[in-house]
Subunit: 545 residues, 2 copies
């Protein structure tokens, strides 16, 4: 592998560990736990993995352990630090017994089902320490949900004499890790399953999980770019930059980037929904800020847009729901592409028709015509950043004719996602991920299953971090998915009464009117600690409460 | 100004200077120079600034100088390091006499004409050291070309008692700086004009100018992102990423990013033109690489596309030229928008009609309908990255039906430009720009006008850099612009027999077929010197020859 200078220098970085994990550990167990909702139902579904205590590792006495084999899977979208979870896990099991082995399943959960794997030896691990990406074994989106898959899995786990499986994934993957843990426990197959909280989206967090790994690095990478764009914006003084940010439904990434960069505008989907804003309300909000800055001669600015915004506008949400129903009807299946828009217009309610007709033609066409493999509207394809800027331009044109707007409006568009998902992990994520992986080896050695590896108190120096495990069932409730009630880990959206949003809300009017951009610059790995070792603003605000 | 941790830490960085500039200097003069082309014509146009010698500064004896005032202008598109040119210039004039003053003209050359300026005091300068952007005084695209403008300029220059004007800009701005120098010299106005070579595009370079400032930082920022995308691409293994890169006509940025990242494909406009490739040739070249990788089961990859590509395809170039003519005809002015496409089709040659009809409808519409304020086709609006991926997809579909392609093809699109133009300068650009600005003060003190500030030997440690000045006329030739012959600095495109392209050409087949991505990561300011202080690959290859 040809390597960049930074890759070579960074390979030598030794991630920090919590003090408790530096030597032999003992599992300190708390009281039995309950799920966050639907306790009776969850308990009934998970008789073997429900009610277990939260665990914290503290200094213990040295144990002799026989060698044991572990499997690891990377599940779902990439997030910075995945390779460090694996290298931490590797170092962890080797520290317990040098003859222990680590197997990686190839291209996600599908690798377990299809028996595609490789042994991860120290030569391989050393190539990937402190690097971004999931390319060491690849990732995939196969969902482990069916008994068939679990049974195919146990075949290869037995063949490789694997004692425990570590699944690195987001909320859904960890939910499924728990279902698998429960299944193997119920069947007494003797294989433990441990989860690790991964996702750049930041929506896998709760009382027990401070943050999901990758969020820190991805937000810092996007903030670097937003800062650069803001500096350009403030130098050329002629464009409004509309910047969409990946992050699925939750607006955590947009909010964190706003806290880091102080843009003129940042939309928060959760607020749009809570206030039942219409698309026109959102457009008006932006146009008003543009007009106000124009009065001061400032015909430029920045707007951050969370990827999921469009689905959070209640009127659009209703429209999409009806479109999905209408287009799924048997009658719709025989309609040619050219007639679909008319068909849609004839079959949706008057209320939704009004919303549909208010959309720019290109977006209306996209909603009516482009479907995902399940036949659903592909909301992620809608270029919200262009939709909004076009609608803002149209509104400002009207206002100009009415003498209510005196400036100029020209827009540039950006969408950041793939630019940050595989960045080399920041010091924070490098340490956090390594600790999560290393800690997973301790959960395994202590015979735990159905647990997620957790590391807390991460706004303090790494030595003071607290490592342990949380029963996955503790984070679950029942939710409706694809028409069925399912036990799932409750997704964390932006809380409007949480400290990060409240701080943002207290500053945003000033940011909108004045030009108060902050330029975070690129992630630094080697400089002064106040530059290199900052957690996210979100985490600092949450922990300060 | 609220600042990021990096901004605060980076403010303390003291850029390095060439050894000769650390103390008093003497101007060592070479032989009289000639322009690179059209020598008689250029000489006639620049009687006062033609034929001057190249200058190199060497150690000299301390001179006492009276205080003198200098004006500075940022011209054209942003490039990382502009603030360091200004802080170097500031420190340079203050080192000669602490009572000297620096004035900045606001929002580009227009500030000189409109008498908008501010004094740049040490308090202000200190806020901007080692930062990206041109926001200290802003930039603009007004062209200084007319006697009226020069006369408006001299009014304010006299009012502020300014002895010399430093214009920081690209090839056109430096050409105009020389025209202004000549005019003021001819009129004996006593104001010197000095240029500084700025542009991320890398197209302002020649025997005297190793590189334009900003190219280093911008390419490293784009390469960070391309590397991150490649890591994602190599982890998810399901997308072809089509990445367009800013850079106007020249492909220097795309080439440098390719050298840094080793993508599967990088198109070079200059090669496309030299080989007279058609759009279909380009599409076939990409599709063949996709098909070859698919045979190995690798349905993913990266394609770098220079911004100016479409104009370099000879057939498209001809079509655009004829479209511009046809749509500029008086007859065309009375045609409604809806009839323009038919009008175009009826009025272009059969050869161009065939090319026009081969384009995807959306692009054909764009070419026929969207015009810039001068009535020209807006080539920069064409989303070449989407155009190419759509045409590759169509070709692969055909090949699939014919049994010649067995894989899957799904594309993602990116366009990077504003993301890098205002990044905080790398150590290289921070030092190089500071030296260029500091050196400009020495050219002024030595009474020079019509010179560009130059710093050479920059692949060596900064102490060994060579600073001096080159007469701008030396870099000129006559070129046809807007129907007139004009003296201009010859633009540097990628040379197909140059070392950077030849190295690229020797490796690209291997990069296309295998997966040999390099991940440069973000610019580092504080780490080991081999990480922080590398010049571009382009410069290293050019200097190694």
């Amino acid at each position: 592998m040809e390597k960049s200078y930074l890759q070579i220098a960074r390979a030598a970085y030794q991630p920090k560990l919590p003090k408790a994990l530096l030597g032999p550990v003992k599992a300190q167990e708390g009281a039995p736990t309950q799920s966050v909702g639907n306790q009776e139902e969850i308990k009934a579904l998970f008789p073997n993995t429900y009610g277990m205590p939260v665990i914290e590792f503290v200094e213990g006495e040295k144990q002799e352990l026989p060698p044991f084999n572990v499997g690891v899977i990377l599940s779902g979208g990439q997030a910075p630090g995945g390779h460090n979870v694996i290298s931490g896990l590797f170092d962890g099991i080797k520290s317990l017994n040098a003859d222990s082995k680590l197997y990686g399943f190839i291209l996600g959960p599908g690798g377990l089902v299809d028996h595609k794997y490789m042994e991860l030896t120290s030569d391989i691990i050393d190539e990937y320490r402190n690097t971004g990406g999931f390319d060491i074994i690849g990732s995939g989106r196969t969902k482990l949900e069916e008994v068939d898959q679990f049974e195919k899995g146990i075949e290869i786990l037995r063949e490789l004499n694997i004692k425990a499986l570590v699944i690195i994934g987001g909320d859904d993957s960890n939910t499924n890790a728990c279902v698998l843990a429960e299944y193997y426990a119920a069947k007494k197959y003797g294989v433990q399953v441990i989860g690790c909280p991964k996702t750049i989206d930041g929506d896998l967090k709760n009382e027990q999980i401070e943050t999901s790994f990758g969020f820190d690095t991805a937000c810092k990478t996007y903030s670097e770019l937003i800062g650069n764009i803001q500096r350009d914006c403030n130098s050329a003084r002629k464009y409004w930059h509309f910047i969409k940010l990946m992050g699925r439904s939750a607006s955590h990434i947009a909010l964190e980037c706003a806290l880091q960069c102080q843009p003129n505008i940042c939309l928060i989907s959760e607020e749009v929904e809570a206030k039942a804003m219409s698309l026109d309300d959102v457009v008006t909000y932006i146009a008003q800020a543009v007009a106000k800055r124009a009065e001061q001669g400032n015909n430029y600015g920045t707007v951050l847009i969370p990827e999921g915004l469009i689905e959070f506008i209640p009127a659009i949400k209703k429209l999409i729901a009806e479109l999905n129903d209408v287009l799924a009807s048997p009658e719709a299946q025989n309609i040619g592409r050219s007639e679909q828009i008319d068909f849609v217009k004839q079959h949706i309610s008057a209320e939704n028709l009004a919303v549909f007709n208010s959309l720019p033609t290109s977006v209306a066409r996209q909603l009516a015509l482009d479907r995902d493999p399940h036949g659903n509207v592909q909301v992620s394809l809608i270029e919200t950043e262009k939709l909004l800027s076009a609608m803002v331009a149209a509104k400002l044109d009207k206002w100009k004719k009415a003498g209510k707007f005196v400036g100029k409006f020209a827009a540039q568009h950006h969408f950041f996602g793939y630019e940050g998902r595989c960045a080399a992990p920041s010091n924070y994520d490098a340490d956090y991920c390594y600790a999560l992986g290393f800690n997973a080896s301790r959960l395994i050695a202590n015979g735990k299953t159905g647990y997620m590896s957790i590391v807390k108190n991460t706004t303090a120096p790494a030595a003071e971090w607290i490592a342990g495990g949380v029963p996955i069932t503790m984070m679950m409730n029942m939710e409706r998915r694809n028409g069925k009630n399912k036990p799932v880990i409750r997704k964390a959206l932006v809380e409007l009464d949480g400290a990060p949003f409240k701080y943002f809300a207290s500053r945003r009017d000033e940011w909108a009117e004045k030009t108060m951009y902050v330029y975070p610059g690129p992630i630094q790995y080697f400089g002064p600690t106040e530059v290199c070792d900052q957690p996210t603003c979100t985490l600092k605000l949450e922990q300060a409460k």
